[in-house]
């Protein structure tokens, strides 16, 4: 590995200027000639059959091209979800083909689609479509869904009901301190600024181009190719920028399939850009959860038994499952016995999906609140309780963590926050008339790595273009991958153009599970090896090169722009001298996508610690978070600025989860009622406190050659618990159902 200092600085984003000047072109902003516009008609019943659809009035609106229903929509050749590995071939959480039959499975389901020459015409015509239904009694909550409940053994090929030891024995031991509590989280919706949308353009009968707001261009390509039975290369997906996603653009949703169907039906390109309200029913959400935590510990705080039982919902047309305990509680603390159990209930509600730290986010909320309750029952400091139970090894698999540094997170966080000045007595700390509460929690998120490939086109003018079909969700991926490329290829940062967001490029996986930097970073490392090998092969045949007749495998990059002997770095040659002598003005290298590796020697997992201060007016007890310290081990930090922003965003979203965010449903129709940005309360600038972010630890070279781990999701974990624990510390009231709104604290004063 070359010694450079490219990584780790707080470099500005390469696309910063494009973003602030509006020059960055988002998927639905591409100008496709003759493009028509789609507007959906949505079901306002949760279950039943379509009896009739009268679209005569809609059809007569000037500019309307067609009204598609289950009766007339062209059907793709393969309506069902492909049975292929999701990581490689795309994700379809909602498995039902839209407009495939007369059945209604949830409120908000698309039951017709108007296509018109203008958006207003399409929208107006959609309002004139009259749908009559034969409704049946919907199943809207887990109580009603008992008989179809499932306990999946695996989720995404990972065991989700892990067990160790005998928790029953620990819970029956009367000498132990035990707590058992149930925690509730509501439905949450991602709400990125950019709504999902797709432009579908059939460039020929068998050639489809999609401009799609997506976290997975290759996935969309595979899914649409499968649906329409096309060679994969006949489908192109383009998405150079994403305006936030948080998981809701990882799968392909009905609008992607319908845009292609509508374009097929009308013979013109069709843009289907979701209105905000549809983002609450047709682009996924986080399921509500009910989680019961049982913890038993000896008087010194050592955990003897931990049980995490979760109940979550999925839809009747999908199987997405939010596994709350398997990758959080199961490896958080050193306990003699651990039992994770989860049950999933299918309901007539739109299909849920990944939302920032799916599973770990609600899971750490429940676990870390329970740990706070246990600390109080034990009369122990909450940080001390966690230190006592620190797990050196993965508690279930009993293998070491690759690089953990959690104790350092606690120590640094406590110090930066001033935790030692905390009076543990609830309600004891004041700021004038305001109650002050300090709470903390552990953060955790798995380190995921998938597979990717890349291509470099190097020119002797010193510039290089590097390509991978990966994504920048607004997180800074363009910048990070340019930096990693600069380091790995030995080419100046300013000379590299990194291209992503196009299915034409070598494979990139879904930008989900915080895997991108590790995955694509690894691919760039491998590609750099190929690139340097190609240069070495020129050198060893070049009599004028100092490396003439050396062995190619002994040659590597020895300095930026130079390859040389590993054993004698003085013997080296510059990229450009080599290429010029060979009469070339460029050199290309391209890698192939490999198979995912299984490293069973380590558990790869990131950890961190949050410390939160809240202030509450006891008379009008709306919680205000005033201070957060968040310390994270994320391996090697590629870019200090974008890394910090990831944690800031996660913390703020976590505060929203704790205090305000909830998608509420109408009990009669099953429709969401808080389905716009005025009623679904994400945090505003005025809500955002001072946030101190710090990173600790060392590069994790066991995990990948860059040493980095993802940071997109760990930021949101733990925060809701730290806020809830701070609220308890301020008030003495334990709120176990989120969000903690003013009405839940009125009995405090």
């Amino acid at each position: 590995m070359a010694e450079t200092s490219i990584l780790g600085s707080a470099r500005d984003r390469v696309d910063g200027k494009l973003k602030v000047t509006g020059a960055a072109k988002y998927a639905v902003e591409f100008e496709v000639p003759k493009c028509a516009y789609a507007w959906p008609v949505e079901s306002n019943i949760a279950k039943g059959k379509i009896a009739a659809i009268d679209f005569s009035a809609a059809k007569s609106v000037p500019g309307v091209l067609t009204v598609l229903t289950h009766e007339n929509a062209p059907k793709p050749k393969n309506p069902t979800k492909p049975i292929i590995p999701e990581q490689l071939q795309g994700i379809r959480n909602e498995e039902r083909l839209p407009l495939s039959d007369d059945l209604v499975h949830y409120a908000g389901q698309y039951v017709a689609l108007v296509v018109a020459e203008t958006i207003p015409a399409a929208q107006y015509a959609a309002s004139l479509v009259r749908v009559t239904y034969t409704p049946t009694e919907p199943i809207l909550n887990l109580e009603a869904a008992q008989k179809d409940a499932k306990q999946p053994a695996r989720n995404n090929n990972e065991k989700v009901q892990p067990k160790k030891g005998d928790v029953g024995k620990a819970f029956a031991d009367s000498s132990l301190t035990k707590i058992e509590q149930t925690y509730i989280t509501p439905t949450e919706t991602h709400n990125p600024i950019e709504m999902s949308g797709t432009i579908a353009h059939w460039e020929a009968d068998d050639k489809l181009t999609l401009y799609d707001a997506t976290q997975f261009v290759k996935g969309g390509q595979s899914q649409l190719a499968h649906a329409w039975d096309l060679p994969v290369e006949n489908v192109r997906v383009i998405c150079p920028y994403v305006g936030g996603a948080f998981g809701c653009k990882g799968a392909i949703w009905p609008h992607v399939l319908l845009a292609a169907t509508a374009a097929k039906a009308t013979g013109v390109p069709v843009k289907f850009h979701l209105p905000r309200k549809s983002m609450f029913t047709s682009a996924g959400h986080r399921t509500p959860t009910r989680q019961t935590l049982t913890l038993a510990a000896s008087s010194d705080g050592k955990l003897k038994g931990m049980q995490h039982v979760s109940q979550t919902l999925t839809s009747t047309v999908g199987q997405f499952t939010e596994s709350c305990g398997a990758r959080s509680t199961a490896l958080m603390y050193a306990s003699d016995a651990i039992k994770i159990e989860e049950t999933v209930y299918p309901v007539n509600v739109a299909t849920p999906t990944f939302m920032r730290a799916p599973g770990e986010c609600p899971g750490t909320y429940a676990l870390e609140c329970a740990m706070d309750e246990l600390a109080i029952a034990l009369k122990m400091d909450p940080v001390q309780l966690r230190m006592v139970n620190h797990a050196e090894n993965d508690p279930i698999k009993d293998v070491p963590f690759s690089a953990k540094f959690l104790k350092e997170c606690y120590q640094m966080g406590a110090e930066r926050f001033g935790w030692s000045k905390r009076n543990p007595q609830p309600g004891s700390m004041k700021d004038g008339d305001l109650l002050v509460g300090w709470g903390m929690a552990t953060k955790t998120y798995p380190a995921h790595k998938m597979v990717a490939a890349g291509k470099i086109i190097y020119k002797t003018d010193g510039t290089a273009t590097v390509q991978c079909a990966t994504h920048d969700l607004g997180t800074g991926a363009y910048t990070a991958f340019t930096e990693i490329s600069a380091e790995q290829f030995g080419i100046p940062f300013e000379k590299i153009t990194f291209e992503l967001g196009k299915s034409d490029y070598p494979f990139g996986p879904v930008a989900g599970g915080s895997n991108s930097t590790a995955t694509v970073g690894t691919a760039l490392h491998e590609l750099a090896g190929l690139f340097h090998k190609s240069l070495a092969e020129l050198a060893i045949k070049d009599a004028k090169s100092p490396l003439f007749q050396q062995k190619a495998e002994e040659i590597a990059m020895v300095a930026p722009g130079r390859i040389g002997l590993r054993s004698d770095r003085g013997k080296s040659d510059s990229y450009n001298d080599l290429l010029k002598r060979a009469g070339r003005d460029s050199l290309e290298a391209e890698s192939k996508v490999g198979t995912p590796e299984q490293n069973k020697k380590f558990t790869f997992q990131s950890f961190g610690a949050d410390f939160v201060e809240v202030k509450i007016d006891p008379l009008l007890p709306r919680v205000q978070v005033t201070r957060v310290v968040s310390v994270v081990n994320g391996g090697r930090i590629v870019n200090a600025k974008t890394a910090r922003s990831q944690i800031l965003g996660g913390v703020i979203m976590g505060i929203g989860m704790a205090l305000t965010e909830t998608t509420e449903y109408d009990p009669m129709t099953g429709l969401p009622v808080t389905r716009n940005l005025a009623d679904y309360h994400v945090m505003t600038n005025a809500d955002a406190p001072s946030i101190d972010v710090a990173f600790v630890g060392e590069p994790d070279f066991e995990f990948n050659p860059i040493g980095c781990r993802g940071l997109g999701e760990i930021g949101i974990t733990g925060i809701a618990a730290a806020v809830a624990n701070a609220v308890f510390h301020a008030t003495g009231k334990r709120v176990r159902d989120l969000p903690i709104t003013v009405d839940k604290l009125l009995d405090v004063a």
Partner: protein
């Protein structure tokens, strides 16, 4: 959005004539609420008469000493920062700044804010089959639905929606007078008579006639309104409608309350003038017991539903908090 035609009025008479010819037309001011509702398919006017060019954008002192006239087209942001308002009626400035976002306030007009429609979910989204405001006779979806933000005072079985405006609450406390002009001439409507309780006709929200144009809002001289405050309790720190809000002013002689002005927002179909609370306050000493007694008196008739009963206690506390803040002003 339904197709509509558009015209621009040069003066109030032209606007009034226009609406006389097409009673289903709507005046277009800032459009921050009307256009939103048109996009949602809730409002479907066949014609819009743009009144933005009318010469009604001034804030001026009334001739008879102390009062202020606010032109109907004065933008919320301009009004909030106007010296006559910040000095004489600070509660109005605070109420305006507590509402919406800077971008919306830059467009929203005084007249339009008076006519702002409810944020009841069942009204705002035509996907819901029930709403007596949107489809008279269809029932109230909120009554047995999700009703966390709904009314606790003055509501009916036909409608439990609230008036969402912050400005209106301050205007109610200040005894504002709405100046209107119509085909039958000009008239003045006291703010208390401007908005209506829902009764059995929640679709009729004000006593403004279809052919009447709001031209101005007059604020009477209230010297003690310099000692006033608008308190808004909401789910987040900015850009959220009030769960409850209080506009309060106290006329104090030492610690003795000579008279009080109190109005509530977020609790009723109209900005709720808290006259019962004012009666309790008059003549009493300004202290927490007095404030609590006033709040109890005002909320005695309150009725909550499945998700909003907390508003009753919250409103009482907001009254105490707002009055405490006003009493503590120097």
């Amino acid at each position: 959005m339904n197709p509509f035609s558009y015209s621009r009025a040069a003066d109030p008479q032209e606007a009034i004539n226009g609406i006389g010819q097409n009673p289903a037309a709507k005046f277009l001011g800032g459009g921050t609420n009307l256009i939103d509702l048109m996009k949602m398919g809730v409002e479907t006017p066949p014609h819009l008469i743009d009144v933005n060019r009318l010469a009604l954008a001034e804030v001026e002192e009334l001739p008879n000493g102390g009062g202020v006239r606010i032109g109907a087209l004065v933008r919320n942001s301009d009004l909030a920062e106007h010296a006559l308002i910040t000095q004489r009626y600070p509660m109005l400035s605070e109420a305006l700044l507590a509402g919406a976002s800077p971008q919306l306030r830059n467009l929203a007009t005084t007249g339009g804010n008076l006519l702002q429609r409810t944020r009841c979910y069942y009204f705002y989204d035509p996907a819901f089959p029930q709403c007596n405001k949107r489809v008279p006779g269809s029932g109230c979806g909120a009554l047995n639905g999700f009703n966390r933000v709904h009314a606790i005072l003055g509501q009916s079985e036909q409608c439990i929606a609230t008036n969402p405006s912050d400005m209106n609450v301050a205007l109610a406390a200040l005894d504002a007078v709405v100046q209107v002009q119509g085909s039958k001439g000009a008239r003045s409507i006291p703010i208390g008579d401007f908005h209506r309780l829902p009764g059995s006709t929640p679709n009729v929200e004000t006593n403004l006639q279809a052919d009447e144009l709001i031209t101005a809002v007059d604020l009477p001289a209230i010297p003690f309104a310099t000692r006033s405050h608008y308190l808004k309790v909401r789910d987040r720190a900015s850009y959220a409608f009030a769960l409850v809000s209080v506009a309060a002013a106290l006329d104090l002689d030492g610690r003795q309350i000579k008279s009080a002005r109190v109005a509530l927002g977020g609790v009723a179909h109209k900005p709720w003038r808290a006259s019962k609370a004012e009666q309790v306050l008059a003549g009493k000493e300004a202290n927490e017991q007095t404030f609590r007694a006033a709040a109890e008196a005002e909320l005695a008739a309150a009725k909550g539903y499945k998700h909003n009963s907390f508003k009753i206690e919250l409103a009482k506390r907001a009254i105490v908090s707002a009055l405490t803040a006003v009493a503590g002003m120097t």
